[in-house]
Symmetry: C2
Subunit: 367 residues, 2 copies
């Protein structure tokens, strides 16, 4: 761990100041923005997500806006998933791949109008990729960052809070569907979504000057349900089997290796990037797959940066791509990106800095 | 300021562990990597750069490798500067622009062979941009990240240290020129370059397993000259007028607005990205220019994230894009990106959170 000081390369979110006032004391950098990662009590923040309702500044999920007559065409060229049946008001979770079929990003593509799409992206400069493709293919579409900043309400009680603010219609929203509306005159988009499996919504603030006001509306509304500040929880996302592209993937990871096969379509327009490579990988079968790891031992392991080799019979068979203490499983758990020759139920060894640790391969999600 | 904890999205550099041992306690995130920003005594680190020799982990200046028969062609398509006369062993500072002529990155392009180039990049995912262009134009070139990690020796005594390790031939290296060699069997590229104006070299480590070994060779060699750990110094880079793309630039900043006109060529192949827009901007003249600002007051101002408006006669005329205390000028200084209607010698007002501050426009560099 180390300290980060302000600089102009880091774009603060509209919720940054209110998060500082809420006691934010650690953060991640994601898409050149600051994402709060703790407000001082990690354990309470974890359990608030699991049992109650937690309020998150996830502006770092930056929107890449595609606007113009060719917006839909560009979205389909970028996404390795059929978008032809995507309705206005619907979002779809997609893999954006390069020509090798390597996953570059896994955004939610949101169709706001026939000529207006947003991609709510993971951590890489997808605007550069999108702009280059649009430019090279001569498409009539403008790629930009709109003034849109997601705030998440997550946890089993999130729906109560959001319904209290917005009305019971939110209870009928299907997963990844959204609606444009206003809250006290503040323009927002409300979507059933969020980087947890505990349920909830993302409120896309569409006026960057109203961050504190929007935050406080939900903070106040959530008091009866014990709302408090939080952030995406690495233990919970790992327990729940959520993917983190860039953490769990490398320069050769296809969607099929990381359980995105069910979101990957091959009967899509032939000019979709990566389609040829993905078709070949699907035919031949991926060489690696992503499984869960339960490590031996009952002491929380230190956090690490790098992938760690997985050994079987003394040979490297894959990598452990993350490792975190699970408060519910009371074990160190992580993901394996590992040869398909090795499968659930087998034991492997993790070559850690601190020594070799045995680990059992299990299905994902853990919980 | 806030604390950042390890996660697998942050790639540690080969020098990370030795920097932790050296006392690194703050860092920046740059190209999804960790760049040390202080070892606990910022004032000493500043003066070590100005008066002695400082050792920096600048692996975050990631290399984008272009390899294949079309490597040179891709480099020229990307760079708004004539590379036809770039020799093997030479580097050139270039602007990479989009089709609007907006600067996306300002790497050093290094020609290692006719079919092998590196781009030592600033903070944005230039590999995505480069790969998209190569793919769309059907070029025979592979875009990748090689195992190459720059370490810098900077300061007036850097040449003595590097000559002591490598021999007097380094004294004859011209600016941005480089040579491939070995140090105790460790493959490196040695270039006269670095993100300061105090002179020095960058040693590109070409074997990521040898970070500590290479660091210690220079650390030991530099003892007679008082070498110590450091990092790019925001006060020095500001005093020296160095550009930081992404800090000092926005979605509409052309190279002409930020003093890169002398590195921008318009008589280059017509398929260079942005050439048409840059030619138009050059003909019409840029609407903004980058000047220095000296703020009133003699107390170091707090660090900030965001651009701050510059006012003249109550009207917004531009932005202050950074602000830092200069130990040599004993003033808060910064950069203005401001209308060309306003020029050196005039006074403007900075709309700061803490109140309005008067500032004088001066030429860059300050020193």
């Amino acid at each position: 761990m180390f300290t980060v000081f302000p600089n102009a390369r880091l774009k603060p979110s509209p919720f940054y100041k209110v998060c500082v006032d809420e006691g934010m004391n650690s953060a991640s950098i994601y898409n050149s923005m600051i994402m709060p990662s703790s407000f001082g009590d990690r354990e309470a923040e974890y359990w608030r997500l699991i049992e109650g309702v937690s309020q998150w500044d996830v502006s770092v999920q930056r929107q890449v806006q595609l606007k113009g007559p060719d917006a839909g065409r560009l979205a389909q060229i970028l996404a390795a998933r059929d978008l032809s049946n995507c309705a206005i008001g619907q979002g779809k979770y997609v893999a954006i791949c390069n020509s090798r079929g390597t996953i570059l990003n896994d955004p939610i593509v949101m169709k706001l109008a026939d000529d207006l799409y947003w991609m709510s992206i993971a951590d890489s400069d997808m605007w550069l990729w999108s702009e280059a493709i649009a430019m090279e293919r001569g498409l009539n579409v403008e790629v930009s960052h709109p003034d849109v900043s997601p705030m998440a309400l997550q946890g089993p009680k999130a729906e109560e809070v959001v319904a209290h603010v917005l009305g019971d219609w939110v209870r009928d929203l299907r997963y990844f569907w959204f609606r444009q509306t206003e809250i006290d005159g503040i323009p927002v988009v409300v979507q059933r979504s969020g980087y947890s499996k505990q349920g909830g919504f993302e409120i896309y603030l569409c006026d960057g000057s109203k961050g504190r006001q929007l935050w406080n509306i939900f903070k106040e509304a959530g008091q009866p349900w014990g709302i408090g500040p939080g952030s995406p929880q690495t233990p919970e996302r790992t327990e729940s089997g959520l993917l983190s592209v860039g953490s769990d993937t490398d320069a050769w990871t296809s969607p099929f290796e990381v359980r995105m096969g069910k979101f990957t379509d091959l009967d899509i327009p032939s000019d979709t990037i990566g389609l040829k490579a993905l078709t070949k990988i699907a035919e031949e079968g991926p060489k690696r797959h992503q499984l869960g790891l339960v490590l031996e031992g009952d002491t929380p392991a230190p956090l690490g940066f790098a992938w760690e080799a997985l050994l079987k019979d003394g040979e490297k068979v894959g990598d452990m791509t993350n490792c975190i203490w699970s408060p519910r499983l009371k074990a160190n758990i992580g993901y394996a990106l590992i040869s398909t020759d090795v499968d659930v139920g087998e034991e492997v060894f993790v070559a850690r800095d601190t020594g070799t640790v045995a680990a059992r391969l299990v299905p994902l999600p853990f919980l």
